[in-house]
Symmetry: C2
Subunit: 234 residues, 2 copies
């Protein structure tokens, strides 16, 4: 059974959190976004899913299962492919971390789209500037301080001795934040050094290193979650 | 073992989704928010949690486990107390629904706080009016249409024959939306009748009916997730 990842083309987006888990676990998968006419195929499939319909992409098809919601897909991959502990304590802890990462990612998105996802950035620039100031000055320090302290306490990975899907997602958040807010991140990383260390440990894993060099890894741009608008950086 | 729910006092908030699951399953629990000095106790406990620290309340203490993130707490309660199917297909489906409800709830919150949670509503009223218009006209029809169609297809409960934690959460979203946006909801419910039917089915369950009449059920107000500001209603 080859898994299928269904997501928008042209951006890493939320699909990237799933890609990193698939890549690190060495799972064979078909990435529809990289195929000719990927968006049209994806939209048609989204409409065709009647049994457990996704509200939005990404969704993963694994045999008879269709699973949507990024954190839920990672819960599945974690359980079936060794990307999360088996114990109850470990399972719920890693999922709690992932849902907190999901909250952070939503806040990062909404900083450039505080009024509506259906409007262009230019139609909400003033509001974006206000919201992003709060993101940079209040929310990022709070979230990054939280994850940094956990890494410092647990020594290496968020859940202790072994990498989990939450570590892979936090790596991608660091990549995205460095792209979107290079000035703000330079300052923040001075006092949150565990995050950079986690980033580097993930980047060096052989399968991740190979993936990052491949065409399968898509660059950030101003259509995605993490956008670099210089006027929004410190 | 008596479970403990740790959350802010004075609002239903995100703690309410957990309360409804605990109440429907007939689980004995201590609700710290209803105790004298609940907020101070909660903040002290939040600081004291070093092993699996919550980023924010609510969190549930169940024996040795401390579990945070509303959807994650419900995943736990669903698995341990019969509020979700046992099959993989059913488990991931119900969690997918819950995470979609969580996204909706975050959008409802951000409609009255589009700039920052740390600012008062009065300091972001103009932006709130813009964002809430999109919520009422685009997002609520999309989300409510999605859940309504699933209920129509599955006949009764979101996941088929038996109630799950996602049904309890959707009940509370309907209560909250009717409180916050009575005008908008009167119109929306005319074309989404399954949602009102689900609401009534949940409200009639004996344990839920008893809970709703009790002092343990807290009213909505303008400090919570669901706020009634007449200027934001249609």
């Amino acid at each position: 059974m080859t898994y299928e990842l269904w997501y928008w083309s042209g951006i890493p987006g939320r699909g990237e959190f799933v890609r990193l888990a698939l890549e690190d676990a060495g799972i064979a998968y078909r990435d529809i976004a990289l195929e000719e006419g990927g968006d049209e195929k994806m939209m048609a499939q989204l409409k065709a899913e009647k049994h457990t319909p996704p509200f939005a992409p990404p969704f993963l098809k694994a045999g008879k299962l269709t699973i949507a919601q990024t954190a839920n897909i990672l819960l599945f991959l974690g359980e079936k492919h060794g990307l999360a502990p088996k114990s109850d304590a470990g399972r719920y802890w890693v999922h709690q971390l992932q849902l907190t990462i999901a909250d952070l990612v939503a806040e990062i998105h909404d900083a450039h789209h505080p009024i509506a996802g259906s409007l262009y950035y230019k139609d909400q620039k003033h509001e974006a500037a206000r919201r992003t100031k709060h993101l940079r000055e209040e929310r990022l320090p709070k979230y990054l301080g939280y994850f940094d302290a956990i890494l410092a306490r647990n020594g290496g990975w968020l859940a202790g001795k072994r990498l989990t899907y939450a570590d892979l997602s936090l790596f991608h958040v660091m990549e995205g934040l460095r792209y979107a807010f290079p000035n703000a991140m330079r300052k923040l990383e001075k006092t949150h050094r565990e995050l950079g260390a986690l980033h580097d440990r993930v980047a060096k894993r052989p399968r991740i290193a190979a993936y990052l060099k491949s065409d399968r890894r898509q660059p950030f741009n101003e259509d995605g979650l993490f956008r670099h608008y210089p006027e929004l950086d410190a």
